[in-house]
């Protein structure tokens, strides 16, 4: 006698906001296509209860400054010579499967001199010419410099629907104003807290930024270094979004690449326990696992670094989208 079991479906009243990155020629930019994220009406990948209209995206990080000194060999080896050539690196990132390109700005250039507006502008120009993918530009983490660079970048890429960030509670006005003036989007970054995330979205929105041009970065830790805090905050944000809490409905961007590659597990090849296993495999696993856990807790964009980890996470997303 077959038993009839009713599938337990949650009825959600809210959904994740749709956000479109990049503008094609028809839309006033030069991108070969735009990318839409968000729109989910269920928890991640639960096709039996709602729609997941757009797959999460993998954004691959490139820089105008060669990071070879700072990045460990498993990462530098994978990219090889392109690390010193922004255009070539961008093309390689696209070939590696990137859906989006992140131009990560730095505090100094290759000569060790301070970066500035004109240099950031030139870097963006190079990336725009090297790829047709939508572009995210992230600051170097120093407010004054970031404002200078992001304003220049915003002007240079006017009309491209770039994403500029991170806007933080202490520093968002200049970036938001530049994005507004030039038709771009922003990321709003807060330290792993549902209420802070909502508040910053409100502040950015109050400046006139439409909600469909705001992406939230709830911040995360790497695997073993606080990922559980980010994971749970993202689950809470997503539940709130589906329950209809308007200011939690922005798509989420997180940076597992940066977090994973700062851990000792990814950086250290010698003097570590044998139980850690092969360095390269472990390091790639560290990044891929961090990204995967965050995607399954609700991320729409993961910013990543290693081409093998990128390919693996893309495959995982394709599998999950079969739902």
């Amino acid at each position: 006698m077959p038993v009839n079991v009713e599938i337990p479906v949650e009825k959600w009243s809210g959904s994740v906001r749709l956000v479109k990155l990049g503008a094609t020629a028809a839309e006033g930019g030069t991108r070969s296509r735009s990318v839409t994220i968000g729109g989910e009406t269920s928890l991640p990948f639960l096709g039996f209860e709602g729609k997941v209209p757009n797959p999460p995206c993998v954004a691959v990080e490139v820089r105008a400054t060669n990071p070879a000194e700072d990045w460990p060999p498993p990462l530098t080896k994978a990219w090889g010579a392109v690390l010193g050539d922004l255009a070539a690196w961008t093309k390689a990132a696209e070939a590696a499967g990137a859906d989006l390109i992140v131009l990560q700005l730095t505090q100094t250039d290759n000569a060790g001199e301070r970066m500035n507006g004109p240099k950031a502008r030139a870097a963006l120009r190079t990336v725009l010419q090297a790829t047709g993918l939508p572009i995210i530009v992230l600051g170097a983490g120093q407010a004054e410099l970031d404002n200078e660079m992001l304003v220049a970048v915003a002007e240079e890429g006017a009309g491209e629907r770039l994403v500029l960030g991170p806007c933080e509670e202490k520093n968002y006005r200049t970036i938001v104003a530049a994005a507004l003036a030039n038709g771009h989007l922003v990321t709003a970054k807060t330290p792993m807290d549902v209420n802070l995330s909502k508040q910053l979205t409100v502040l950015v929105h109050d400046m006139g930024m439409p909600l469909d041009r705001i992406i939230t970065d709830p911040t995360t830790g790497g695997l073993g270094y606080g990922i559980e805090y980010g994971y749970s905050v993202m689950e809470r944000l997503r539940l709130a979004a589906l329950q209809g809490d308007n200011m939690t409905q922005q798509p989420m961007l997180v940076t597992p690449g940066e977090e994973a590659w700062r851990t000792k597990e990814a950086r250290a090849g010698e003097g570590v326990p044998a139980a850690w296993g092969d360095w390269e495999e472990r390091a790639i696993n560290w990044e891929a696992m961090t990204a995967a856990a965050l995607i399954e807790s609700g991320a729409e964009i993961v910013v990543m670094r290693h081409p093998v980890a990128v390919a693996r996470v893309k495959q995982m997303i394709a599998e999950l989208m079969k739902a």
Binding site: G224, E265, P273, R282
Partner: protein, 455 residues
């Protein structure tokens, strides 16, 4: 799910229709049946205090008190794993209690010597993570050969090499029976009963007093089998929903967890076993699928192979997700001597967040350099988090330096603070007169080099 006081009342002498003659007799020590029901719901009274409850009501009440996901135990010679008894869908709602058991597959087609070596490697695998020893939980021996004799030999080889809990994997009852003959004295998990073999498997499970996996590819199929098996007297069950890939596994396991917790649907209130290697042929993806299943909602995960570079991140993910969100993992504040420090050894301060403490302590220990490590009570927060929350300020650091009595242990007056809180330098000089405040590097990895050059 727990019954409310009113639900319970409806089963007591005063609440049934028609009421029992003894309704509200006060013999239980409460003025009315309703008052007694409220106390029962609050777990402040025992049902046995009322002599007039019907047997039917007793059965209903004890069933409702049982956990919505049954606790299943596998044991072998002292090592055991327990899974189940979970109460929430999301860790922030409370916590996850029983970490997913991670096991490694052993095909019985391997030569006996290889089986023994693999079993030993899995059993010996141990990795330190913030002071916790992370380990694998067992072996799943699979009768790939389909041959009873060969399977028995494989089980014997594994048993000879380790004391890990075992899963015996075959759908052929004779093969399982041969394996069970080699597991006397331990409690393995039998995998699996299906629509075709469940009667024979039930007999084996009962005789061996072992839990049994139920395999079917639909919720209805699983529920039907668990009901047949419980009716046959096998109560310790584990579910294998046979949805192997990323999407299928996520959906099926989510549905099972919801049915157990939100609907209190008894026929599916059991832990789940997952086989990520059956969901993908790519070893890298297998590790990600295993991670998904640890997060969403497997009780047992069987890995297709043993590779430390895959196992370590999985065990760390498990440790992270099963940490109680209300209690960050912390160490005791105080003074920690590292590498037998003497009076001239450096003094370092950090916080009592486990990840922070071990990042520094491990780095120092492996460098061989002696030091006095002072751990401030920062309520289990990392350096910057604690600083931002006002739990690791100049006052707190000064209090730690004074409170630990390090001044009596060293002949100098120098203390190194983390590079991330360099801004505290000035204030700290005021709080700690006579001490020289030194700003260390930002990351613990750079500490040994810093101490060699700048101390």
């Amino acid at each position: 799910m727990a019954l409310s006081g009113l639900d319970i009342y409806k089963l007591l002498p005063g609440g049934v229709k028609p009421p029992h003659p003894k309704a509200n007799c006060k013999e239980c020590g409460f003025p009315t049946c309703l008052a007694f029901a409220m106390k029962l719901a609050a777990k402040q009274a025992e049902l046995s205090a009322c002599k007039y409850v019907s047997d039917e009501a007793k059965a209903k009440l004890s069933a409702a008190a049982a956990p919505p996901i049954r606790l299943i135990t596998l044991s072998a010679d002292g090592r055991k794993v327990e899974v189940g008894n979970e109460t929430v869908l999301f860790r922030h709602e409370k916590t996850f209690y029983h970490p997913t058991a991670v096991l490694v597959r052993v095909p019985d087609t391997l030569p006996a010597a290889e089986i023994a070596a693999l079993a030993k490697a899995v059993a010996d695998y141990k990795v330190d993570y913030v002071g916790m020893a992370l380990r694998l939980d067992g072996l799943a021996i699979e009768a790939v050969s389909g041959n009873a004799g060969q399977f028995a030999e494989a089980v014997a080889a594994a048993r000879g090499a380790c004391t890990l809990p075992l899963v015996l994997v075959s759908e052929i009852p004779e093969v399982i029976s041969a394996g069970l003959a080699k597991t006397a004295g331990i409690t393995p998990l039998i995998c699996a009963a299906t629509e075709a073999n469940w009667e024979a498997m039930a007999k084996l499970a009962k005789a061996a007093k072992a839990p049994l996996v139920v395999r079917a590819d639909s919720l209805g199929g699983l529920a039907e089998l668990t009901q047949k098996l419980t009716a046959a007297g096998v109560e310790d069950l584990v579910l294998d929903p046979a949805a192997r890939g990323f999407a299928g596994s996520l959906q099926m396991l989510t549905q099972l967890r919801r049915l157990a917790l939100k609907k209190n649907f008894r026929p599916l209130g059991y832990p789940i076993i997952a086989f990520p290697y059956l969901g993908t042929a790519d070893p890298g993806l297998e590790t990600l699928l295993a991670g998904q299943q640890i997060a969403k909602y497997a009780g047992f995960v069987v890995l297709g192979r043993f590779n430390p570079a895959d196992v370590y991140p999985l065990l760390v993910l498990r440790a992270n997700l099963f940490t109680d969100p209300q209690k960050p993992i912390q160490v005791e504040p105080g003074i920690y001597p590292i590498n037998k420090p003497g009076p001239d050894a450096p003094v370092l301060v950090t916080t009592n967040f486990s990840i922070t403490y071990f990042a520094v302590a491990n780095e120092m220990e492996s460098s061989g350099l002696p030091a006095w490590l002072l751990v401030a009570d920062a309520e289990g927060m990392s350096v910057l988090t604690a600083w931002a929350a006002g739990k690791f300020d100049a006052e707190k650091i000064a209090k730690t330096v004074k409170g630990t009595g390090v001044a009596e242990k060293v002949s100098h007056r120098k203390v190194v603070i983390p590079g991330h809180v360099a801004v505290l330098m000035g204030e700290l000089e005021e709080e700690l007169p006579g001490w020289q405040i030194k700003v260390g590097p930002r990351e613990a990895v750079d500490l040994p080099r810093y101490l060699k050059t700048a101390w």
